[in-house]
Point group: C2
Chain length 229, copies 2
């Protein structure tokens, strides 16, 4: 079927804010632009939406093509439609945010492209287009959502310690948390299953490993349970 011409149409893109946790620090994946406009500047991974793919599909495709990421948590964030966001022509961008387990994906693959790099969210360079605004929106969403939905686990490996979990929350929320109260509350949900293994990470007492029981969470959720940290 040929393109049905009616009126000039905006171009449609997706842009992805990819968060990862590295060394208890929240990082975001950026791509160095190879072409104008903004050649040489850092930008969010993203690209045009094809006419025969859904928005989600486009976001997943771009993540794989530009960052080598597959099977990651992905959620639509907001759609940005200001007139001059792209200097070339009218471009409307559907923004997504993604959470990846940095330890799990070998970081090499993710940063294989010489033009991709992880930046601490507190130290991102100037970004192309309106990507700074998109990043801000993603951070705000993450901060808000992490408190009442167990999406934080998407940033951790399948087996993790309570300290890792706490540091994750501290990094995302930008606050310090009381260790005892944190553990009391998070264990109180009954959604963390203690594994038989421990993890050694230095010259100190080894830490108990846990995994998140996603099935149990789904069942509880249906009964009106509310994960709220």
């Amino acid at each position: 079927m040929p393109h049905t011409y009616q009126y000039p149409r905006a171009a449609l893109t997706v842009d992805c804010v990819v968060f990862g946790l590295d060394d208890s620090e929240l990082k975001v994946l950026l791509i160095e632009r190879a072409l104008d406009p903004f050649k040489g500047k850092w930008a969010l991974p993203g690209g045009f939406v094809r006419v025969d793919e859904t928005l989600d599909d486009a976001a997943r495709r771009e993540l794989e093509e530009e960052a080598g990421l597959k099977n990651v948590f992905l959620e639509q964030l907001y759609t940005f439609g200001e007139l001059k966001r792209d200097p070339r022509e009218r471009v409307v961008s559907v923004a997504y945010y993604s959470l990846v387990k940095l330890a799990a994906h070998d970081t090499k693959a993710a940063t294989d492209a010489a033009d991709a790099r992880w930046f601490p969210v507190s130290k991102v360079p100037k970004l192309a287009f309106d990507h700074a605004e998109i990043l801000d929106a993603a951070l705000a969403r993450l901060k808000g959502k992490v408190r009442y939905q167990p999406i934080g686990f998407e940033l951790l490996p399948p087996k993790f310690t309570l300290s890792q979990l706490q540091h994750l929350y501290e990094a995302v929320l930008g606050t310090e948390l009381d260790k005892r109260n944190f553990r009391k509350k998070v264990l109180g949900f009954g959604l963390l299953v203690p594994l038989k293994e421990t993890q050694m990470t230095g010259r100190h007492r080894p830490a108990q490993l846990f995994s998140f029981d996603a099935d149990k969470y789904e069942k509880l959720k249906k009964r009106g349970f509310n994960f709220e940290l």
Copy 2:
């Protein structure tokens, strides 16, 4: 500048879920479609985004054109991009939701178009396209947001009674609330200013009128205050 042809492009539309409160019942504004596809079916107000207007502008324009509504609360909801949502061709729709003060706008103007009608959200007819899904998403957003942001006031006239406010929350949340606890909490914020007027609505004690102090709320918000019912 001519339309830069590259690849076939999706068409871009906006659709608006307009909520109003009538008789302590939550209603939604629907339009009866005059043209195919779905001719004669009820649908959300909306239409194509022009290449020279922002998404917000398009939503506001459609609200005015199709429903005679101006200066209403409007917020982007989600962008729907499934492949076959429109049987004609690929259409991506940015959905908005809007809250209107039904008493304030003369209802006549809003329903002036013979093809527009307010439906209780519990009794909406079958909708065109994927509009049922959009409506569900808007309801979920409203339910979620009303609890931690003072957007409920957008559904009430500038002067309202505490009972009206309570009924609003009950209608949106679908629960019953304790009158004394509700009043204690909502007055505790210090954001409702008691007016000198009262309102008579029957053969019983007249009710104290209040107004919402939006300025004070904005100031408190900047200092980290959290409206949470």
